[in-house]
């Protein structure tokens, strides 16, 4: 695997986002909704805080990530261009990686624009920069894991809608699996807790970068991308 093979796919995909309405719609809607929740807190309750925004973002991501990843591989299959890609001197994992990084870049761009809220918070009160930073690290790691799952869903089908629903379902379960915690036997509780993306996000955003949390996200990314590349081996 070489980076110079990944790069053209990455560039093409990123350009695809920004030359079509996709990127702009995603960015606008994402920022609008985040902004809505943020300013509601700010003006109605007089509290300038990002803590209130993060849960909203978590839920939004389970919708937005599938929206930006659903077409990545499914559309290649549907239009037949996958045959072109697959007969070029490039490995399947390089195709997957290029697409993955492009979608992740779009997502991180969306996160980047929410920094305006962070700056607002900072200028209004004495917010803890360290905590905010940790929150963003948590977001990027969470996004990295979610986009990988979205890419996997997109590799399984040639139908974008199916890809959307499958990845939404997987992300939803993964994000909110911890709601069952009070109802499962204590022995399994820690397992469910460890599976929950929210649990790890909360850990990281507290400012503690534990290897367990990193391993969690890293294994999601590696496993999903590996499975996506495997799924591409089914050519037609």
């Amino acid at each position: 695997m070489t980076f110079s093979n990944v790069l053209p796919i990455y560039k093409k995909e990123l350009r695809g986002y920004f030359t079509s309405p996709v990127a702009y719609i995603v960015l606008t809607v994402f920022l609008l909704i985040c902004g809505w929740f943020f300013s509601a807190r700010l003006f109605v309750e007089g509290e300038a805080s990002l803590r209130s925004v993060f849960p909203t973002v978590l839920f939004l991501l389970t919708l937005f990530v599938p929206a930006i990843t659903m077409g990545l591989l499914s559309e290649e299959r549907k239009s037949g261009t996958f045959e072109l890609l697959a007969t070029m001197p490039i490995e399947d994992i390089e195709i997957v990686l290029g697409k993955y990084l492009a979608a992740l870049t779009l997502l991180v761009t969306a996160f980047f624009f929410t920094l305006t809220y962070a700056i607002t918070v900072k200028s209004l009160g004495d917010a803890d920069v360290g905590v905010m930073f940790a929150g963003y690290v948590g977001l990027v790691l969470l996004g990295a894991g979610q986009v990988a799952i979205g890419v996997l869903a997109s590799s399984l089908t040639e139908n974008q809608v199916v890809a959307f629903i499958v990845s939404f379902l997987m992300l939803f379960i993964l994000s909110f699996v911890d709601v069952v915690l009070p109802h499962v036997p204590a022995a399994f509780a820690s397992v469910f807790e460890y599976l929950s993306a929210t649990y790890h996000f909360t850990n990281i955003s507290r400012g503690v970068l534990d290897t367990r949390d990193l391993v969690y996200y890293a294994s999601i990314v590696v496993l999903s991308l590996y499975l996506a590349a495997r799924a591409l081996q089914r050519r037609i």
Binding site: S4, N5, L7, P8, I9, K11, K12, R15, G16, T19, S20, S79, G80, T81, E83, L84, L85, A86, T87, M88, P89, I90, E91, R235, I236
Partner: protein, 310 residues
């Protein structure tokens, strides 16, 4: 150059390609013929490393498509069936993307793209999105994409599909042009294409190879004989005199109407006996009413080959 050995491909319970073997020499233009669904596309997809064979092997310059996949892919330019392209890219961007994927060094990229554009006469549509192009231009864009990196081998799956007669003539002459330097394999189910373009023909039907040989072989493929139809007026039976001509293998009386004989004369392939027949007619005072060398049409041969195998 390309060696296909005992190739089989199974999809579930259907055997799409069944034990097919053939060779393609360097610099040859090979027409790959067969009715729809005969296994042409599947075979080409295996040659281009898109599909893995169920059994058998394909070697390109001695390199196996399965074990040396990336190296093989570097040497091949491929136009898949129905020329898929990224519809939301314009022609130049698309070709630049392909050039980058094909690892054309960045210093040469512009030049090679320009050359592919010139060769495929895409100059008028450079800024158009591929999705807006007519099928002729799309096909040519697909061809430009295939020749961009100057591959030694071109695999073209139905390159003239969806084109109007003028465009077909253009694409054919383009392929013939390319075939001067490269090895070309193209598939088609249009028989005149074979006549117009290729040196050699492989016909498959229901996944099996039913013919492998030159264009001429195909024409004589069925009987292996050259046949001359003669109509003449003679006072005595001309059969014995005709049979005496060197090279004539058999003389059959098709019809006899008073003194007018219709005869079918067979000679070995490539042996033209018409002059001798004329000489015999003069010598025996026959009146020659008609004489023609019968050429079996490609259509007849093709139909015979592809329906008998099934």
């Amino acid at each position: 150059m390309i060696e296909v050995r005992d190739l089989s491909k199974r999809f579930g319970t259907t055997l799409a390609v069944n034990n097919v073997s053939f060779d393609i020499k360097g610099g040859e233009i090979l027409g790959f013929l067969g009715p729809n669904g005969a296994g042409k596309t599947t075979t080409m997809r295996i040659i281009t490393c898109f599909l893995q064979p169920t059994s058998g092997r394909v070697e390109i310059d001695g390199k196996d498509v399965q074990t040396h996949s990336l190296e093989v892919r570097r040497q091949i330019g491929y136009l898949p069936e129905s020329a898929p392209t990224y519809n939301d890219m314009n022609v130049v961007d698309y070709l630049m993307f392909v050039a980058e994927m094909r690892r054309v060094p960045s210093a040469e990229r512009k030049r090679k793209v320009r050359r592919a554009i010139d060769v495929c006469s895409l100059g008028d549509v450079l800024q158009k999105n591929v999705g807006q192009l007519s099928s002729g231009y799309r096909q040519r864009t697909g061809l430009a994409q295939a020749i961009l990196h100057d591959p030694q081998i071109l695999v073209l799956d139905e390159p003239t599909r969806g084109l109007d007669p003028n465009q077909i003539v253009e694409i054919r002459s383009l392929i013939r042009e390319l075939g001067r330097e490269k090895t070309v394999v193209f598939s088609t189910h249009i028989l005149s294409e074979v006549e117009a373009m290729c040196d050699r023909v492989v016909i498959i039907s229901s996944g099996q190879k039913v013919f492998d040989g030159s264009k001429q072989d195909l024409q004589y493929g069925l009987s292996g004989k050259d046949r001359v139809q003669v109509e003449l007026r003679a006072t005595s039976d001309p059969v014995a005199a005709l049979r005496a001509i060197p090279g004539v293998e058999s003389v059959q009386v098709v019809t006899k109407n008073e003194a007018v004989f219709k005869l079918s004369i067979e000679a070995p392939r490539g042996k033209d006996v018409r002059e001798q027949i004329f000489a015999a007619a003069v010598q025996n005072h026959w009146v020659l009413l008609e004489m023609r060398r019968e050429s079996v049409s490609f259509e007849d041969v093709f139909r015979e080959l592809t329906t008998s195998a099934a």
